[in-house]
C-alpha cells in the first residue's frame, strides 16, 4: 500500500450511523481488533481492553440501553479502560493518557474498518452501569466507547453540528504564539 492510499483511507473515513443487516465476517472483526492492538499506547502500557460482540440477542440488549445508537449493528467492539492495568502502572487515575489511549485505539479501528470496506460509528451515549450489567463486566473495566460495525446503508447521514469548512490550516498555528 502506498502512502497516498493510506492517506486516502484517512481522508475518506466517515462516521456511519446507518448500517444494513448484513453480518460482519469474523476474520474482518479480528483484523479490526488487531488494528486496535497496534495503536500507540502511553508508556506502552495496555490500559484499553476490547470486548467484541456478535451475538444478536446481546446486540439488541446493548442497543436498548444506548440511546445514542441509531445503528442496528451486526457487530460491536466495546473499548473499556482496565483500571487494574492503570494501577499496576502506577498511573494516576486522572492522567489524560488513559483516555488518549482509548482514542488512539478507536481511531485505528475506525480506519481499519473503512479500509476493509465496512462502516463504523462510535457511540458513547450509553448507560455505563447498564452496559456493565448486560455484559457482566468485571469491576475493573469501565466501558468508554462502543464502535458499531457493519455495512454502510445507502442513507443520508445526520450531522450533529452545522457543516463547516474545516481545513488543516484552520486548525493549525505555526510556532510560538504572538503576545
Amino acid at each position: 500500500m502506498t502512502s497516498e492510499q493510506v492517506l486516502e483511507v484517512i481522508r475518506t473515513r466517515r462516521v456511519i450511523r446507518h448500517l444494513t443487516d448484513e453480518p460482519v465476517e469474523r476474520t474482518q472483526l479480528e483484523k479490526i481488533l488487531e488494528a486496535g492492538r497496534w495503536a500507540p499506547a502511553g508508556g506502552n502500557h495496555r490500559f484499553v481492553r476490547f470486548v467484541a460482540i456478535e451475538n444478536p440477542a446481546t446486540l439488541q440488549l446493548i442497543r436498548k440501553i444506548s440511546p445514542g445508537m441509531s445503528q442496528r449493528p451486526p457487530a460491536i467492539i466495546l473499548l473499556c479502560i482496565d483500571w487494574n492495568q492503570v494501577a499496576l502502572a502506577e498511573t494516576p487515575a486522572d492522567d489524560p493518557v488513559i483516555y488518549i489511549d482509548v482514542g488512539t485505539a478507536m481511531e485505528n479501528m475506525l480506519l481499519a474498518t473503512h479500509a476493509l470496506g465496512l462502516g463504523a460509528g462510535p457511540v458513547t451515549s450509553f448507560s455505563k452501569e447498564a452496559m456493565r450489567v448486560v455484559l457482566n463486566l468485571p469491576q475493573h473495566l469501565t466501558p468508554e466507547v462502543a464502535i458499531c460495525i457493519g455495512h454502510a446503508a445507502p442513507r443520508g447521514q445526520s450531522p450533529m453540528i452545522p457543516k463547516q469548512r474545516v481545513t488543516w490550516q484552520s486548525l493549525t498555528d505555526w510556532e510560538r504564539f504572538e503576545d
Partner: protein, 106 residues
C-alpha cells in the same frame, strides 16, 4: 375512543429503558441533545405502534416517520429545525383534534 393496545410488553420495556438511560446520559451531554433523544423516542413509538394501529393512525404515523427523519437530518440548522418542529406540532394537533371530534375514529 379507540382503546386497542398498540405496544407489546417488550416494546414498552425498550421505551422505558430508552427514556431512563437517556435521562442519565443527558446529564453529561449538551442540552440540545435532549430534543434529539425525544425525537428518537418518538420515532421508536411510531415504529412500534404502526402495525397495530387503526388505518388512519397508520397513515398518520407513516407520514410522521418521514417528518421525523427529515427533522433529524436538519437538526444542525436551528431555524429550519424549529420550523420543521412547529409544522410537526401542528400536524399532530390537527390529527388529535380530528380524532377527538370523531370519537377516535379519524
Amino acid at each position: 375512543m379507540a382503546e386497542s393496545l398498540v405496544l407489546t410488553e417488550d416494546e414498552a420495556l425498550e421505551l422505558l429503558a430508552f427514556f431512563v438511560t437517556s435521562a442519565r446520559i443527558l446529564q453529561r451531554e449538551p442540552a440540545k441533545y435532549g430534543s434529539m433523544r425525544l425525537l428518537m423516542a418518538a420515532e421508536r413509538v411510531g415504529e412500534f405502534a404502526l402495525e397495530r394501529s387503526s388505518p388512519d393512525t397508520q397513515e398518520f404515523l407513516a407520514a410522521m416517520a418521514e417528518d421525523l427523519d427529515q427533522a433529524m437530518m436538519y437538526m444542525a440548522d436551528h431555524e429550519r429545525f424549529v420550523d420543521d418542529m412547529d409544522a410537526m406540532c401542528r400536524k399532530i394537533a390537527q390529527y388529535l383534534v380530528g380524532r377527538d371530534e370523531t370519537g377516535g375514529e379519524a
